[in-house]
């Protein structure tokens, strides 16, 4: 068991997310579906350890997460691409390599892995560009590459193709699925597109009015 969530309540402003029971296994793929504003992003924020539930129990890799301690070690096991991503005022390469640099990976290794990921995501033509020179769709693909380059065993993607043009959606989906298979990583992908949810995974988690059903 990778994640086990029980009786979780998490409040963001006036919004309340509740999870009665939800378990996720290592190496599996899950689609999180639900209408806009239902709580999909909040659910992914909980899985990424960016939100602290006000009650309930979250067990990750067999250990209950203690939110009073530093969460850096569990956060580093997760790669998370948020919806509406923010790119730092750096070059495309530096943005993609940011997660590796904060983990202390050597500069040469970062360069190699960033180059490989850019090629894989068909982003090589963006090399040397600054974040302001990218379209919204390109920014989203760069943010995705920034997450996928981390080699994390858990990959959380929040509406990863929302701004990506149709011609690149297939590349993104294929690359994500291939990488997860190669690394035996768990993939949790939120989408409001029913056909994308079906393409990415047979396992569906629905989020309706702030309630997560698995």
């Amino acid at each position: 068991m990778l994640y086990s969530l029980k009786d979780i309540e998490c409040r963001v402003g006036k919004f309340l997310l509740t999870i009665d029971s939800c378990e996720l296994d290592q190496g599996e793929t899950y689609s999180v579906v639900g209408p806009n504003g239902s709580g999909k992003s909040t659910f992914l924020n909980v899985l990424a350890f960016l939100l602290t539930p006000r009650s309930g129990e979250l067990v990750f890799r067999g250990d209950e997460v203690n939110y009073t301690e530093d969460l850096i070690s569990v956060r580093r096991e997760v790669g998370y691409a948020m919806q509406n991503p923010y790119l730092f005022t750096m070059s495309v390469e530096d943005n993609i390599g940011y997660g590796l640099s904060v983990r202390g990976v050597a500069t040469r290794e970062i360069k190699r892995r960033v180059g490989e990921m850019m090629e894989r995501m068909s982003l090589s033509h963006l090399a040397g560009r600054r974040h302001v020179e990218l379209s919204v769709g390109e920014s989203q693909r760069v943010a995705l590459a920034r997450t996928l380059v981390l080699d994390a065993k858990v990959i959380l993607l929040d509406e990863p193709t929302a701004s990506v043009d149709a011609s690149n959606v297939e590349t993104v989906e294929r690359t994500v699925l291939e990488l997860c298979k190669e690394r035996s990583a768990t993939l949790v992908i939120s989408t409001h597109l029913a056909d994308q949810a079906q393409r990415m995974s047979p396992n569906t988690i629905s989020v309706v009015d702030g309630h997560v059903n698995r």
Binding site: R75, V78, Y80, N84, T89, V102
Partner: protein, 230 residues
């Protein structure tokens, strides 16, 4: 019109020949203004970041004071500090009046609210997703704070440049606290006032050209940095 033309020609001669008085005045101006700007940066930037990032009692009051002090007339600052530093004032025994240190203190009072206030505005205007993005990518608290500051860098640089522009062009503090002593506390602005009153337009214009050039550079840097933040 002749005197204007003669003044301009004389000014060019002074600049080209590297007149000793001229160089002394420019170097004193740069020295005191850069020192006060550095001190105001060291104190104002942390305050600006703290005010922008944390909610605490008195935060609104601090912002109001900073905004008020930003437009404080330089002669008022000079007058207030003069009353403290003059022989009969509470700090009179320190003997700071009519020294470069006194000008630096006065200029710090002018630059500090500008640097702190503009830094606070720059940090406040940053995207709220920066910290969460850094944390989601595995940054620890310090690394997330660092990247946050890095994102604010152009706004902070612009604040520092604006602070320098304010003190380099001020005359009230330098005149009242420095005393316009030759080769010691005579700055560009006080020298211009003095030379013009003596009818020495050439030196006044030469110094004015330096002031204009520095103001131009400061403005170019300021607007370039602002443009980068947008």
């Amino acid at each position: 019109m002749d005197y204007l033309g003669d003044g301009l020609a004389g000014a060019v001669r002074i600049i080209v020949s590297g007149d000793a008085d001229f160089l002394s005045i420019v170097s004193v101006s740069l020295l005191v203004s850069l020192t006060s700007t550095c001190l105001a940066t060291l104190t104002g930037v942390p305050l600006g970041i703290a005010v922008a990032q944390h909610r605490f009692k008195g935060r609104g009051f601090i912002l109001m004071i900073l905004n008020t002090l930003m437009s404080l007339p330089t002669v008022v600052v000079g007058l207030m500090l003069y009353s403290f530093l003059s022989r009969r004032g509470p700090l009179g025994e320190m003997g700071l009046l009519y020294t470069r240190s006194a000008i630096v203190i006065g200029q710090w009072v002018l630059a500090f609210p500008i640097i702190a206030g503009l830094t606070a505005a720059a940090v406040k205007g940053l995207d709220s997703r920066i910290r969460q993005t850094a944390l989601s990518l595995g940054a620890d608290a310090h690394q997330a704070s660092w990247v946050f500051l890095r994102e604010a860098r152009y706004g902070v640089f612009a604040a520092v440049v604006a602070g320098f522009g304010r003190v380099f062009a001020e005359v009230g503090v330098s005149m009242m606290l420095g005393g316009n002593i030759r080769a010691y506390t005579r700055t560009i602005t006080t020298a211009i006032a003095l030379e013009t009153s003596k009818g020495e337009f050439a030196m006044g214009i030469a110094l004015g050209l330096v002031l204009l050039a520095v103001a131009l550079v400061v403005n170019i840097v300021f607007w370039t940095l602002r443009g980068r933040t947008e």
